[in-house]
Subunit: 83 residues, 2 copies
Amino acid sequence: MIYDVGEERVNKVLKIGRKYLSWIQNSVLEGDLTPATFASLKREVCKVIKDDYDSVIFYTWRSERYTSREVIGKEKGSSEIFI
Amino acid sequence: MIYDVGEERVNKVLKIGRKYLSWIQNSVLEGDLTPATFASLKREVCKVIKDDYDSVIFYTWRSERYTSREVIGKEKGSSEIFI
């Protein structure tokens, strides 16, 4: 989950995100969700953002087998998916 | 490519990123790269960031078949991969 939202909504979006996912770095969270949990996360996010200004992107992949993640510099958060 | 870097390095990192990838939203770029091009992007990023402070994450997937992308709110940039 990667968000680019107005300053006044950042805390709200981050708070919702942290209920479901792990904080990775500034405006980036990661996690392993069921379809139902993912749906409720999106519902909550929809309620707080301004559709014509804010942008929240969800990248989803069914298995880590075809996806990899590489960090250059400092690993700020901790990932549950890519250990 | 998602970056969380010191204010004074944001423009440099964004400039490098835009040489290889499309801007999607604040600190997020996407693109389809060969291994060689990806390696040179990482080399350039390594030269400008501060390892003990900055964080740049590359999520890579070999095929879009197992990965999807969903935007809630406004689509700020334009993706070459997910059309």
